[in-house]
Each structure stands twice: as structure tokens, then as C-alpha cells.
């Protein structure tokens, strides 16, 4: 059995302790999976998790380069490859989910980025920002070429910010509570109902409006399911 694989675990621990957060590779993967599910189920685009993505990529490349040195047919190597494939799937699906949302909400995503205060973290990674800008430009060019340029001069612009629907933060979501929360205000649905508060016990599951719990998703206190 190759030593390249056996010493792998301790390797990672050392790498990580040099960074600000000490996170084991297992915790890192758990973080990625959380981000994946949250992104899949939240109605709006969440803050990007570039650090997680980068660390996972690093882990995968490191592991893959180790595997290069192992001879074919090694049982251990095949187990490692399966794990790599699984992690890669989650990673791709996560990034894809974000790209889909960017395609869906591009004018709003860019608007938010424009109005972002200095020092406030961006929702988009640099690559995603480039993608969004290009998508915007392409859509505009497309609309212009197929239709707008044939319109009367005063009708040649389309306000994409108004034309593309905004994410609906009033959507309901399913969630599981990771850290107990008290006094979450539930707004009434109809005039004859009254608002009330609920406590979210750790481990309990709920169906409620995304708007109510959006800050708890970003803080990591609840997990969308």
C-alpha cells in the first residue's frame, strides 16, 4: 500500500492550522454540503463561499496528485477515487445552482453588486461577476439584434431590471434548525390572523417564509432542506 495515501490525513491538518480557521477536511466537506443544499433551496442567490470552494479544490487536487503515484488496481485508490467523484459532484452541482440563479436574476444580482457598500462582502465570486456581466451584455445584444433595432427609435430600450422578475423572498422554504432560536416572529397571512412568535428548537424542522429566516440561513443557524 502506498505511503503517499497513508500520510495524507496528517498532511491536511498541518495545512489548515496555518489558516485562520482551523477546520478539518471532514468539516470542510460538511460546509460544502450545507452551502450546496442552502443554495439549492433558497429563493435568492446567497453569499458566495469561495474560500470553501477553493479549499475543497485544493483537497481534490492534492488527493488526485497523490493518486497519480499509485499503481492501477489498488483497492485503496479506488475508494479514494469514489470519494473524489462524490465530492466533485457536490461541488459542481453547487456552482451550477449558483450559475442558474445568476442567469435567472442577472439584472438584480448586478444591481445588488453595484449598490454594495465598501467592505461588505460580495455575493459573487470574481468569476461569477464576470459571468453575470457577460450574460447581461449578451441578453441585451440578443434582444437588440432580434427585435429592438427594428422598433421605433423611442422604443429601442428595455429596462432589464424591470423586465426580469426579482427573486421572491416571500417564498416558503423547508428548514432544519441547527442552533436554537427564540422569538422568531411569524407574520400573519390574512387580516383575521395575528402575528405570533415561535421558538425554533435545535433539530426541529419547519415550513415557513424565507424572508423570516433569511438571516439565520446566512449565519448558519438553520439549514434549508
Amino acid at each position: 500500500m502506498s505511503d503517499a495515501l497513508s500520510d495524507h490525513g496528517s498532511d491536511i491538518q498541518q495545512d489548515d492550522s496555518q489558516e485562520e480557521d482551523v477546520m478539518t477536511p471532514a468539516e470542510l466537506i460538511a460546509k460544502l454540503e450545507e452551502a450546496w443544499l442552502n443554495e439549492k433551496f433558497s429563493p435568492e442567490l446567497l453569499e458566495n463561499k469561495s474560500e470553501v470552494v477553493e479549499c475543497v479544490m485544493e483537497q481534490l487536487t492534492h488527493m488526485e496528485s497523490n493518486l497519480q503515484r499509485v499503481k492501477k488496481g489498488d483497492v485503496k485508490a479506488s475508494v479514494h477515487r469514489m470519494e473524489i467523484d462524490r465530492i466533485r459532484y457536490v461541488l459542481c452541482s453547487y456552482l451550477r445552482a449558483r450559475l442558474q440563479k445568476i442567469e435567472r436574476f442577472f439584472p438584480h444580482v448586478l444591481e445588488k453588486e453595484k449598490s454594495r457598500a465598501e467592505g461588505e462582502p460580495s455575493l459573487l465570486s470574481p468569476e461569477e461577476y464576470a459571468f453575470a456581466k457577460e450574460y447581461y451584455a449578451n441578453t441585451e445584444t440578443y434582444l437588440k439584434t432580434v427585435a429592438l433595432k427594428r422598433m421605433p427609435a423611442n422604443l429601442q430600450t428595455v429596462d432589464l431590471l424591470k423586465a426580469v422578475p426579482e427573486p421572491c423572498v416571500d417564498s416558503f422554504v423547508f428548514l432544519r434548525v441547527k442552533e436554537r432560536q427564540e422569538n422568531i416572529l411569524v407574520e400573519p397571512e390574512t387580516d383575521d390572523q395575528r402575528e405570533y412568535v415561535v421558538d425554533l428548537e435545535e433539530g426541529s424542522q419547519h415550513l415557513m417564509r424565507y424572508r423570516t429566516i433569511a438571516p439565520l440561513v446566512s449565519s448558519g443557524a438553520v439549514q434549508l432542506i
Binding site: 491536511i12 485503496k76 475508494v79 462524490r86 459532484y89 397571512e189 424542522q205
Partner: protein, 186 residues
């Protein structure tokens, strides 16, 4: 979410296997596994258990709850109660399918187990639809859904969430002032 993605998550659950080979500890990114010794039970994630099983390198020990008597009790309880009873595993449906499809020779009374789990599932899904209906008709703003599994939620998710969305929009018609400007000009 696609059901196969829920299954993907279920494959992370841990199951006991009895290997017929020996191998040192494997240091996976997600944690250490093994060591593996012939005849000695060891915990592994389901995805690995199924792979080893397919390569005839192990025998899978079914989880405790995958037992006709226990499941019969659960089925009775599920039918008796109006609420959702606690499930033996958050992935009971997925694990049943996976283990029975790939390792039925390691699970006694596999067919009976399949039927029982399906019965429990059907009862729970019927309850889920009842609660969805009352959630809509009562126009509730919050529901507690303990004990529901991801796969169960998943069968109704898009439908229920889309319906709630439509209802929300139709309800905001009642307060005309609250909606956006009179006519949107593009």
C-alpha cells in the same frame, strides 16, 4: 431536488459490513475508515458498502430497524397516530431501496421488509397530503414538520411551494396598494 440526489445524501449514512479482505486504515477527505480485517465488522458509508458488496468483498449487516417485527410495530403506530411518528432513520426509504436492491441476500425476509416500508411510506405520504391541504386552506404561516424525511418532503416540495407562492400573490391582490406601481413601463 432530484430523488437521486436525496439518495446520494443517504449514501453517506453509516452501515456495518463484514469484510472478507484485509486493508489498513484509509484516510479519506471526509474521515478515516477501517482498518479492515476478514470477519471483523467495521463501519463504512453506504456508498462504499454497496461498492464492496458488488465486488463480493463483504457482507452487509442490515441496520437494527430493518427487521420485520420492528417494522410491523412501526406500521401499526404510524397508522394509529394522526401525526408523523419518529422514523428509524432519516433515510429509511432510500436505505431500504439501496440495501434491498444490492444486498438482499444479506437481509432476512427482504420481500416482507420491502412491503412493510412501502406501507409505512404510503401512510405517511397520505398524512403529508392531508397536512398540505390544511396548511393551504387554513392559510397558515408556519408549520412544524418534525420527523418528516427529506425524501418525503421532496415528493411534494415543488408542488406545495409553488402553490403557496400562487396563493401569496393572489392574496396580495386584496391589498392593491401593496403591489408594485399601477402599470409597469418597460
Amino acid at each position: 431536488m432530484d430523488p437521486s440526489e436525496v439518495e446520494f445524501l443517504a449514501e453517506k449514512e453509516v452501515v456495518k459490513i463484514i469484510p472478507n479482505f484485509s486493508l489498513d486504515k484509509v484516510y479519506l477527505i471526509g474521515g478515516d475508515l477501517g482498518p479492515f480485517n476478514p470477519g471483523l465488522p467495521v463501519d463504512v458509508p453506504v456508498w462504499l458498502a454497496l461498492n464492496l458488496k458488488q465486488r463480493q468483498k463483504c457482507r452487509i449487516v442490515p441496520p437494527d430497524w430493518m427487521d420485520v417485527e420492528k417494522l410491523e410495530e412501526m406500521r401499526e403506530l404510524e397508522r394509529k397516530e394522526n401525526t408523523f411518528t419518529p422514523v428509524p432513520s432519516p433515510y429509511y426509504m432510500e436505505l431500504t431501496k439501496l440495501l434491498l436492491n444490492h444486498a438482499s441476500d444479506n437481509i432476512p425476509k427482504a420481500d416482507e421488509i420491502r412491503t412493510l416500508v412501502k406501507d409505512i411510506w404510503d401512510t405517511r405520504i397520505a398524512k403529508l397530503r392531508l397536512s398540505a391541504d390544511s396548511f393551504i386552506t387554513q392559510q397558515e404561516a408556519h408549520a412544524k414538520l418534525d420527523n418528516l424525511t427529506l425524501m418525503e418532503i421532496n415528493t411534494i416540495r415543488t408542488f406545495l411551494l409553488d402553490s403557496l407562492n400562487c396563493m401569496y400573490k393572489l392574496r396580495s391582490n386584496l391589498q392593491p396598494g401593496s403591489s408594485k406601481g399601477q402599470f409597469t413601463d418597460y
